[in-house]
């Protein structure tokens, strides 16, 4: 079920004009910002499909910028997001991708702050709902219906057990889990959907495990 709540249908409350091209775009930008964990100095946004053809008319560029600034879908500052981004020293470049995406409303967002880069691909599926289909080159499928923990780690035995133990110790139930790696022994990514939103203490307990690069909490 892509849409779980009645408020996915009667909602969101948002600044117009388009739920998929404005509100959905804000949310994709916001997820990227949450994953990045800081205000980036530079952002590269690539639009595909319908996003690429109509982003100006729908204010998709303004909306993604608003998300990168961590604004909500109903924040009236969305209208001035490009100006505010410039004032805050966030350089944003918009590109048009030629690839034909699986879904028409697709955007790739790269956020950079000296030395660190966050990259994800988000899809706006309609009515303001989004899915994240790629993080750091790892194909994933994330609806954000539940609080989600994103863990970057080294691909070796025992990592899943150690992370799961931390969650068990904090009485957090895992609803769904997915693990992907680039190649054997290389970098890997865990996406863990949980029933209870994890506290900062939980995330910190995951981060200190040997072999863990980062642990971030996401809500879409």
């Amino acid at each position: 079920m892509k849409y779980r709540s009645v408020f996915d249908i009667i909602g969101p409350i948002m600044i117009g004009p388009s739920s998929s091209h404005t509100a959905g775009a804000v949310r994709i930008g916001k997820v990227a910002r949450a994953l990045h964990g800081a205000v980036p100095t530079r952002a590269e946004v690539t639009f595909y499909g319908s996003f690429a053809e109509t982003y100006r008319g729908h204010g998709t560029d303004v909306a993604i910028a608003a998300g990168i600034l961590d604004f909500d879908t109903y924040d009236p500052r969305i209208r001035d997001a490009l100006k505010i981004a410039a004032q805050e020293g966030v350089e944003i470049e918009f590109l048009i991708g030629d690839d034909v995406p699986e879904h028409p409303n697709t955007a790739r967002v790269r956020l950079m702050t000296e030395g660190t880069m966050t990259e994800l691909v988000g899809v706006s599926i309609g009515g303001g709902k989004v899915e994240i289909v790629e993080i750091a080159g790892f194909p994933i499928r994330l609806s954000g219906d539940l609080p989600t923990i994103i863990v970057r780690h080294v691909d070796r035995y025992g990592m899943i057990a150690k992370v799961a133990q931390v969650l068990a110790d904090h009485r957090i139930n895992i609803a769904a889990m997915h693990v992907a790696r680039k190649s054997r022994g290389a970098e890997a990514l865990m996406t863990i959907e949980v029933d209870e939103s994890p506290s900062n203490d939980v995330l910190e307990a995951v981060r200190v495990i040997d072999g863990i690069t980062s642990a971030t909490r996401l809500t879409l």
Partner: protein, 306 residues
């Protein structure tokens, strides 16, 4: 999950002797673990945002940046006030209030998506035009939104609700069918009658393409919301009179889905076909975006905001 199709929704309501709104609330409680009061209170907030947008669009001068939207809702309200209408004041008020919401939306104002922003006018237009005349309380209006949400939920999980995925039939079409079903229930119809109103309304927007001029959510979106509100009202009256849809609601949703899958990308919110590709549509695009406008397979890099 209590229901995922309209047939399941109606059967559940019939079995429990409940309204469609009540079944939706029960499902929301089951899925989210939230209390009834909490859920109803959030729907009250959505209602308040809708009401504020309708008021702003019917009372204030609302203009979009492009100038294509400039107060048609007020124009129609003034015409109704003169008392000489052909279609009747109530149905036209629904149309005007639908346009009011979409005009506020086009001006980047605050709205509640139902189910999307481009189709956000139909449901509140129908609700705020008919509820006062039917003597409905705020609680009854909140129920209307849960009923509309239940129908939309079945479309969203079995087909689509975005113009980019399924054309305007999936957006304004869905909103029209949702409003028709909810209005039937608010007016005292049975869950079965509400489902027939839903099906009758959706059948009449099948094949509607999404062809926004210059990619703006303005032309033809605003007026399509007006017509959606009118259509929803007529469909509700037909169902209340005892007329049934010969094709069951879920099969109409499936037909809408299959038609959307067959629609070329040019007619799914890319602004490359339909009204967007008419000489006037292209001229508007040129005027609004000038030489900066991108067309398909052209000018691939664009930098703004710094």
């Amino acid at each position: 999950m209590l229901f995922r199709t309209i047939e399941e929704l109606v059967r559940l309501a019939e079995r429990e002797g409940a309204t469609i709104a009540e079944v939706m609330i029960a499902q929301e409680m089951a899925v989210t673990g939230r209390s009834r009061e909490d859920i109803r209170s959030q729907m009250g907030e959505q209602l308040d945002v809708m009401e504020a947008a309708v008021r702003r669009g019917t009372e204030e001068e609302v203009r979009s940046n492009s100038g294509l939207v400039d107060g048609d809702a007020r124009r129609l309200m003034a015409y109704i006030a003169r008392g000489e209408t052909l279609a009747g004041a109530d149905i036209l008020r629904a149309a005007a209030m639908a346009m009011a919401t979409n005009e506020v939306n086009a001006a980047m104002g605050l709205i509640c998506a139902t189910p999307t922003a481009g189709a956000a006018g139909v449901v509140p237009g129908v609700l705020f035009a008919h509820a006062p005349r039917l003597g409905k309380t705020r609680e009854a209006m909140i129920d209307f939104l849960f009923a509309a949400g239940a129908f939309g939920y079945c479309i969203a999980n079995n087909a689509f609700i975005s113009g980019a995925a399924g054309g305007c039939q999936a957006e304004v079409g869905s909103a029209t069918a949702m409003a028709a079903g909810a209005l039937t229930e608010m007016a005292g119809g049975t869950p079965r009658q509400a489902a027939h109103a839903f099906a009758i309304a959706l059948k009449n927007v099948l094949g509607l393409v999404c062809d926004p001029v210059a990619g703006l959510v303005e032309v033809p979106c605003v007026k399509r919301n007006a017509m959606g509100a009118a259509l929803a009202t007529v469909a509700a009256d037909m169902a209340l009179s005892g007329i049934e849809s010969r094709i069951p609601p879920d099969e109409v949703v499936q037909a809408m889905y299959r038609i959307g899958r067959m629609m070329p990308a040019t007619l799914r919110e890319t602004a490359l076909g339909g009204l967007a590709a008419t000489p006037t549509g292209l001229a508007i695009k040129e005027r609004v975006f000038g030489g900066k406008a991108l067309t398909a397979n052209q000018g691939r890099s664009d930098s703004r905001g710094h």
